[in-house]
């Protein structure tokens, strides 16, 4: 049995309300700390924070169709790195990029600039100051712009959407291709079987979000997995932390969602390890985006 629903599910509604409040609190907290402005004219992302991005978890926002890149807040020029064009240096995949230092330990980074002459030699940068135009110096597509936010106090890469003004979006995430893999590596598509053997299962799904007026699929803001109302995983796409040279999305249960853990499967995202014990098991997957749009799917199976 599969039930897909937008908005609130009857079961677990209170928990989600609490979670939504927590998200808002984090966003408000961050926005009062820095209150960044959009560094580009139109919000046309090709990739968002936490997204699968060619061997790494997306560190920020990638945008296309931008010409001018502006400082997202008042700050100080911390460093500019020029595309390596000779036999010294190293080839940064951000190409020509500038990093600004803001109050409260926040850094903003702007990659794939055509040139750095608008930043070089300037110490103080006002919010909205033009930093450059989109170029083709970074890894990826020409004219894409990379925007990242780093919280040096908490030692995290922050989801830039947490510190940028909100945007209108009415489209919720899509959850599809849900798969459970048993301890002896037997996969089965949830929704296609009614009976399973008891044991521990790894749950995978393809979870994507869409945005009003923007083509493409994006990472959601949070994914939760519940079995009979008990939460087994909550993956917040809020910040990346580092442990032993690896970045990961941290979850409440202290699981470290590294790129290999989260995106090791080329077609789906790993979500959770869940134990299924004898009796009925209702497996819920809930995904929401940063605008608060929520989607959930519920699968009922009989565990033997």
């Amino acid at each position: 049995m599969k039930i897909a629903k937008s908005g609130n599910l009857a079961r677990g509604g209170a928990r989600r309300a609490t979670r939504a409040a927590a998200i808002v609190a984090v966003a408000l907290c961050c926005s009062t700390v820095s209150a960044f402005e959009w560094p580009f004219g139109a919000f046309k992302p090709t990739s968002l924070f936490g997204q699968r991005a060619d061997g790494v978890i997306g560190r920020g926002i990638t945008l296309e169709g931008q010409e001018v890149v502006r400082a997202s807040g008042h700050g100080t020029t911390l460093v500019t790195i020029a595309k390596n064009g000779n036999m010294t240096g190293f080839p940064s995949t951000l190409g020509n990029f500038a990093v600004l230092s803001h109050e409260d330990g926040l850094l903003s980074a702007y990659g794939n600039l055509e040139a750095l002459d608008r930043v070089d030699g300037r110490t103080q940068i006002d919010s909205g100051t033009i930093l450059g135009i989109a170029g083709s110096s970074a890894w990826g597509k020409p004219k894409d712009i990379f925007f990242q936010v780093i919280d040096t106090k908490r030692k995290t890469v922050l989801n830039p959407l947490l510190v940028l003004p909100g945007f209108k979006d009415t489209r919720g995430p899509v959850i599809s291709n849900v798969l459970a893999i048993s301890g002896n590596n037997q996969p089965f598509a949830l929704g296609s079987v009614k009976f399973v053997k008891q044991g521990k299962y790894r749950v995978y799904a393809d979870v994507t979000d869409s945005i009003d007026g923007v083509a493409g699929e994006f990472a959601p803001f949070r994914i939760s997995v519940l079995v009979n109302g008990k939460e087994y995983a909550s993956i917040p796409f809020e910040m990346l932390q580092e442990d032993s040279g690896k970045l990961y999305l941290s979850s409440k249960d202290s699981r470290e969602y590294t790129w290999a853990a989260l995106y090791g499967d080329p077609t789906r995202m790993f979500l959770a390890d869940v134990p299924l014990t004898r009796g009925r098991a209702d497996i819920s997957i809930i995904a929401c985006d940063i605008a608060g749009n929520e989607r959930s799917v519920l699968f009922g199976v009989q565990v033997e």
Partner: protein, 365 residues
């Protein structure tokens, strides 16, 4: 006083003063160093676009003293006696060392690294920019804060990620050092084991502008911070690391800084705002010379007292010869879009746009 009558005393006194002055006040020249142009070769494309196998026989690339060059959109290999073994033109990115080369587009994936003779050496699986340093192969991953090292046959040795973009990078046979925009400095062994990682701090704003690792891996040099910017030297051994020297620098450089060790590990070069610092690792002393522009390269001749520096200021380059610790012997300016400097013992290879020249330093002790 009758000057005419005392002229002989005045002259005698003057000569005596000059003689004493010459011996007491004169700076020793060190040696009679002079520069002798050996050859200049004009660069022309010897290869067709897209061609990877050079027309020169493969054996020619195996001789001693083969060097790689990269000048704008042109790259290839040449010999110590001035023969161009290969010369390619490409709009793509290039990384080349005397032992390998690779060219790749902006959205590079699964890049092939080739031997100088064009034969495949390995395939670096994954997305990002390949960086060759000596016989070491690195891949800078999308996102700006992650790098991997690959071994023979394209085997992944290690990958390191951090929360801030990489702003400094250097490697030696003993490992790799990385600096980041949040001020973190990390050093790993060739197998990826972390030798140390810490925030040097000591400035109002933390950031690493340049870092270098000595050939034996024992010393790491670094330029870090804004308000006040500083140079630090870290000694690592036996799983421990310690800052053994630091000095505050004048001004604030806010771009990538040139930092490098000479092969012998006796000296470190570090760039600051308007200066090139020279640190004597034996004496624990720093000195410096003023530079007007961005330090592109510093050549060195282990054991000799002379080193060369190439500085870029827009399209104007300055090549300077410096006698240690900080005595400017000679300098010459020239205009070019691209230039490189390689110093091998007493030979300097200077590339400028469409030509490469060899200049021999004579009289080195």
């Amino acid at each position: 006083m009758n000057i005419k009558a005392n002229l002989k005393y005045v002259l005698t006194g003057s000569i005596a003063f000059l003689a004493i002055y010459m011996f007491v006040a004169a700076k020793p020249m060190g040696s009679d160093i002079y520069f002798e142009p050996a050859w200049t070769t004009n660069l022309e494309n010897t290869q067709d676009p897209g061609e990877t196998a050079p027309k020169t026989p493969p054996e020619a690339f195996k001789q001693a003293g083969v060097e790689a060059f990269m000048l704008g959109e042109r790259y290839g290999f040449f010999t110590a006696d001035g023969k161009i073994l290969s010369s390619y033109a490409t709009p793509n990115r290039v990384s080349a060392t005397p032992v390998a080369w690779a060219t790749y587009p902006e959205d590079a994936r699964d890049t092939i690294v080739r031997n100088p003779d064009g034969s495949p050496r390995m395939t670096v699986s994954g997305s990002g920019f390949v960086h060759l340093d000596g016989d070491r192969t690195f891949l800078f991953l999308p996102g700006g804060d992650a790098v991997s090292q690959y071994g023979e046959g394209g085997r992944l040795l290690w990958t390191r990620e951090h929360i801030a973009p990489i702003t400094a990078f250097n490697s030696s046979p003993a490992g790799t050092v990385m600096g980041y925009a949040d001020g973190y400095l990390a050093c790993v062994a060739p197998d990826g084991t972390e030798r140390f990682g810490f925030y040097p701090g000591g400035s109002d704003r933390e950031v690493i502008f340049g870092a270098a690792l000595s050939e034996d891996g024992k010393l790491t040099a670094c330029v870090s911070g804004i308000d006040r910017q500083r140079f630090i030297l870290v000694r690592a051994s036996g799983g421990q690391h310690k800052i053994i020297y630091h000095t505050y620098l004048k001004g604030n450089l806010r771009r990538q800084a040139f930092v490098d060790f000479e092969k012998g590990g006796n000296f470190a070069f570090f760039e600051s705002d308007g200066r090139l610092g020279i640190f004597d690792c034996k004496k624990n002393e720093a000195s410096g010379i003023p530079v007007y522009g961005e330090v592109v390269a510093a050549g060195e001749c282990p054991g000799a007292a002379l080193f060369m520096v190439l500085v870029k200021n827009g399209s104007r380059y300055t090549l300077s010869a410096i006698e240690r610790p900080d005595h400017l012997v000679a300098s010459v300016n020239f205009n070019a879009n691209d230039a490189f400097l390689i110093q091998r013992e007493g030979a300097i290879y200077l590339g400028t746009d469409g030509s490469i020249s060899r200049i021999d330093i004579r009289g080195l002790k």
